[in-house]
């Protein structure tokens, strides 16, 4: 059997744009003017279109980025673990200032939002190889060795999986042994309709965080007349604090691939894609090797698993540093080699997805769950969790706790239990599902984590990130970090998200500087609501979620932050700051 990808469907040339850009970025450290010209003529585009794609992605640069390109994570968890000191140390040791390259052109130093290693912060990527649990000494040592000519690949860390907890009595769903091809054979025995029924019974719902019933999506794609069809795995895990997909792809990539094959078999797809986030480039060899194994075993390629006429293969597409590409339609645009701008809801991906053809997009965890559910059978699966919310859920725990890492919990566990398991230290508030998710107070610790409550009023539907913060952490600083993140990651296509996140950040800065009044809090809330109702995609719709919730849940805290001298007439004004620049002209 073939070990390389089979030509089952020939994609149009322009879909290769991202790959070509990656090649050039890695080769030269940046995209040169002549590269832009060449790519434009290669793909029949104007140069400005190529520029548009390059400038959209964080990891594509138009200026040299040094022989060694360093990206230090600046997410809130990393910030609390001291990433500022790490950045300072890198600056001192390499001679490069943050956001630039040192004089010799050897080191480029940049910041980047969450790199999916929140359980081993502070962390950084050097030439896309991971370095974890950094401290000043370690940074010094790394830079010293690089200067001495050691290969980055030889000194990088192998990130720990840190699987801290799986359900007792060996009830783990995701990390149980899965015989290669076993779940595919079971799917074949069930027939496509049987697979959809099994998913319906198990009530599996999209684990990226939207919880859309998986069977509905597959059913809709199956019913589409157009062909070919596609299966896309969303492995662009960008939500700060989330790293469950990283662990899954490292520990059990085969279950992901089986899940995708089952999906392809069910809906009749001929090609699959794993859209892997740029920051997980180091996982690429492992995934490629597993794909090659599957091809060798005849489980991918022509007549997969000896199912006559079932031709299917999977290609990995590297993302290049864009949070919004986790939005499924933005991901599809990116997969087509364009800017990752979310589409309008004129069509759904199952109708017109990749290349305007029917496409199923699911999260890594969803595909893994599918393979395991079919393997153990729905009866066994339904015994896990609680009635109405069966199964287990992977949660990435990070922040102020002794045992950060991955927790596979049965649905129905309370926040308090999870906090106890991870040995949280004086927890005060918890950010569930990342910055776009929900901010909860320790007072709510008896809420269950389940997907029972659709509106998530009583129970919490966790997307995968669980960041714990203790009482000493400044909530406004946390929210400012989130606001800066959304401002930077907005695609810029719609007004409320592009301008709104910028405006919210300015307002929070006022609050942080003690210049805000009660009216400002009210405005923040109504402005946040306007962004929610008018934004084009989930990014803008959820960007102010935590802010709005936090203002309700931590009213006293916000009250403390306000300007208390305000009498309803004259605002506080920082005259010293406003005249500082002019004062330099004093002789």
């Amino acid at each position: 059997m073939a070990e390389t990808i089979q030509t089952i469907f020939t994609e149009p040339a322009h879909t290769q744009m991202m790959n070509r850009l990656w090649d050039l970025q890695l080769l030269n450290g940046y995209i040169r003017d002549e590269d832009i010209t060449q790519l434009a003529s290669l793909f029949g585009l104007s140069e400005i279109e190529v520029e548009g794609v390059v400038s959209f992605y964080h990891f594509f640069h138009r200026q040299p980025t040094g022989k060694y390109t360093i990206y230090v994570n600046n997410s809130i968890v990393a910030d609390h673990k001291g990433c500022q000191r790490i950045i300072e140390t890198f600056e001192r040791e390499t001679g490069a200032r943050l956001g630039s390259v040192d004089r010799s052109g050897m080191f480029g130093l940049f910041e980047t939002p969450c790199i999916g290693l929140s359980d081993q912060e502070p962390s950084a990527l050097i030439n896309f190889y991971p370095f974890t649990q950094l401290n000043a000494m370690k940074v010094k040592d790394i830079v010293g060795r690089l200067k001495a000519g050691v290969d980055v690949a030889d000194i990088c860390d192998q990130p720990q999986d840190n699987i801290r907890f799986t359900p007792a009595d060996n009830k783990t769903l995701f990390f149980r042994h899965l015989e290669a091809g076993a779940s595919i054979t079971k799917a074949q025995a069930l027939s496509p309709d049987g697979v959809i029924d099994a998913l319906k019974i198990s009530e599996l719902a999209g684990r990226g965080g939207a919880y859309f019933p998986t069977w509905k999506k597959w059913q809709a794609a199956k019913e589409q007349g157009a062909s070919p069809k596609f299966v896309v795995c969303n492995a662009d895990e960008g939500e700060p604090g989330t790293f469950k997909d990283r662990v899954l792809m490292n520990a059990c990539p085969h279950s992901l691939i089986e899940g995708m094959i089952i999906c392809a078999y069910t809906i009749g797809a001929s090609m699959g894609f794993i859209y892997l986030r740029g920051k997980y480039r180091w996982l690429l060899p492992r995934l490629e090797a597993t794909l090659a194994d599957y091809r060798k075993m005849g489980l991918l390629g022509k007549n997969c698993n000896r199912i006559e006429g079932f031709d299917f293969d999977i290609r990995i597409q590297m993302g290049a540093g864009s949070y919004v590409c986790g939005e499924e339609t933005a991901l599809l645009e990116s997969l087509e080699g364009k800017r990752g701008e979310p589409r309008t809801k004129w069509f759904f991906p199952v109708e017109k997805g990749y290349l305007q053809l029917p496409t199923v997009v699911n999260n890594v965890e969803t595909f893994c769950a599918v393979a395991q559910i079919l393997d153990i059978g729905t009866d066994a699966y339904l015994k896990l969790g609680i009635p109405g919310s069966a199964g287990t859920k992977l949660i990435s725990v990070s922040g102020d706790c002794k045992l950060p890492g991955l927790y596979e919990i049965e649905w129905g566990m309370t926040v308090a239990e999870l906090l106890e398991l991870c040995e949280a230290e004086n927890p005060y508030y918890i950010q569930v599902s990342g910055p776009s998710g929900e901010c909860i107070s320790i007072k709510e610790k008896f809420r269950r984590i389940s997907m029972l409550d659709l509106l998530a009023r009583k129970d919490i539907r966790c997307g995968g990130s669980f960041m714990v913060f203790n009482k000493d952490r400044d909530l406004v600083k946390v929210l400012l970090n989130f606001a800066a993140f959304f401002k930077q990651e907005s695609c810029g296509i719609c007004t409320p998200c592009r301008a709104g996140n910028f405006i919210i950040q300015r307002k929070l800065e006022r609050l942080d500087n003690g210049l805000a009044i009660e009216e400002d809090l009210k405005e923040l809330k109504t402005w946040g609501e306007i962004m929610k109702t008018t934004s084009r995609c989930g990014l803008g719709k959820t960007a102010t979620n935590s802010l709005i919730l936090a203002m309700d849940k931590f009213r006293d805290y916000f009250g403390e932050k306000l300007d208390k001298s305000y009498n309803g007439q004259s605002m506080k004004f920082d005259m010293e700051a406003a005249t500082r620049e002019y004062e330099t002209y004093k002789k």
């Binding site: 004129w346 401002k487 810029g492 296509i493 301008a499 910028f502 402005w527 109702t533 002019y582 002789k587």
Partner: protein, 424 residues
């Protein structure tokens, strides 16, 4: 013949072809849904400005990306939706650097027009004053990035013969701007270049050497509203105010040009009423330097560019019951705020040190303890004190100012004509 479906817009029953764009259906039925990016022949619709957000079967969504279907219920004019739309247009004003008095597209600008239709007197958001560079490189157009609202129209619609894009988004987030491909731009025909300018809803794409034929004041959006009943225009009432006592008014020009004061004097014969009804306290009109009485109303022209402006403004707040920001500068900074996107040192050095008309060797940036201190940027009045009312315009129409004052002092009903409500 396509299938006809029944739908409801704000309670009105309408029949339309199934699958037709809701924006078109509304337009054909005389229902005004504000929008900026929607352009009839661009398909699929862009959905970028979000100003047309309505309630579609109870759920918020943009009208421009909605295909009409049987039983669709649309809400357009609810207080919340109107406010959201207003907020979105205000966001565009706050995000760009829109100086209507200095824009060639004034009176033909869709953004300005939406501002008028929605009755925006001041943006609720702080202006962001992002430094944007004007691109003079294209051979036949000038790309004025300060005015671009990123609607995508030119990106999608303007293409060369080979189908290549001439305009494209560059960067992302709040750094996004519309870049021009100089090579492709040079290949466009004169007609295509003019089309690019015409589809631009603002004055961002300006064709070199082409001037607007109609004068300001007589352009497309200068005189009349497209809505039959503008929701914010009140009914006129003719009775004269009941006068018991003379009301006291104070006025001041901070970082302004006195243009608003000049406009104030333009009410002609109504000036006789003013003398009868009002007495002026601290004001350049009376030359009274210090407050002698508590005032009913304070009219502020100009924003705050130095420390003295701030002190004066605070003094006004202290002595006046009602403060009115009069004119663009007081409302958000106006023309003086053009410097806000540029570092102060660059401005001062350009004006005092490097200016070609300066005497060589005697150049100095003035600094003395008796001189007011220049602030890092020009601040809008509402960043310093609470402002009760805003009158937009550069300057505001004389009748507009007088109507507002009469309304505030004696509760007289007023109707601001569409043509009086202006940003330039």
């Amino acid at each position: 013949m396509a299938k006809m479906v029944n739908l409801q817009i704000d309670g009105k029953h309408i029949q339309a072809e199934e699958g037709k764009n809701l924006m078109l259906v509304a337009r054909e039925n005389g229902i005004f849904i504000p929008s900026l990016c929607y352009y009839e022949h661009i398909e699929p619709p862009l959905g970028s400005c979000r100003v047309c957000t309505c309630k579609l079967n109870g759920k918020a969504g943009p009208a421009c990306t909605e295909k009409v279907a049987e039983g669709l219920v649309v809400e357009v004019n609810t207080p919340e939706l109107n406010d959201s739309r207003k907020a979105l247009v205000e966001m565009m004003f706050a995000e760009g650097n829109h100086i209507c008095p200095a824009c060639e597209k004034s009176g033909l600008c869709d953004l300005q027009h939406m501002g008028y239709e929605l009755g925006i007197s001041a943006t609720r958001f702080p202006h962001l004053f992002k430094d944007r560079v004007i691109d003079y490189n294209p051979s036949r157009i000038v790309m004025e990035h300060n005015r671009c609202i990123k609607c995508l129209r030119c990106v999608v619609d303007v293409k060369s013969k080979e189908g290549k894009r001439v305009f494209n988004y560059i960067n992302r987030g709040n750094e996004t701007y519309v870049g021009v491909d100089y090579a492709e731009e040079a290949k466009l025909t004169d007609e295509e270049i003019l089309n690019a300018m015409h589809i631009c809803p603002t004055g961002a794409i300006i064709v070199r050497g082409v001037s607007q034929s109609e004068p300001f004041g007589e352009r497309k959006y200068d005189q009349e509203s497209v809505q039959k009943h503008r929701p914010h225009a009140k009914q006129p009432a003719a009775q004269r105010p009941l006068v018991n006592e003379k009301k006291v008014v104070a006025t001041v020009s901070l970082a302004g040009c006195f243009g608003c004061h000049m406009s104030l004097l333009d009410i002609d014969t109504d000036l006789l009423d003013v003398i009868e009804l009002v007495s002026f306290d601290k004001s350049p009109l009376t030359d009274i330097k210090k407050f002698t009485n508590r005032c009913h109303i304070g009219l502020i022209e100009g924003g705050c560019c130095n420390s003295e402006n701030i002190e004066t403004l605070r003094l006004f707040r202290e002595h006046c019951d009602i403060l009115v920001a009069m004119g663009e500068c007081a409302v958000w900074g106006g023309l003086p705020a053009m410097r806000n996107a540029i570092p102060l040192s660059e401005c001062l050095e350009e004006a005092y040190l490097n200016c070609v008309t300066n005497e060589p060797s005697s150049t100095i940036v003035p600094y003395h303890e008796d001189l007011p201190k220049i602030l890092d940027k020009v601040y809008a009045c509402n960043e310093i004190v609470k402002i009760d009312y805003y009158i937009p315009g550069c300057p505001p129409d004389a009748n507009h100012i007088w109507k507002v004052v009469k309304n505030l002092l004696w509760g007289e009903e007023y109707s601001i004509l569409y043509s009086e409500f202006k940003y330039d």
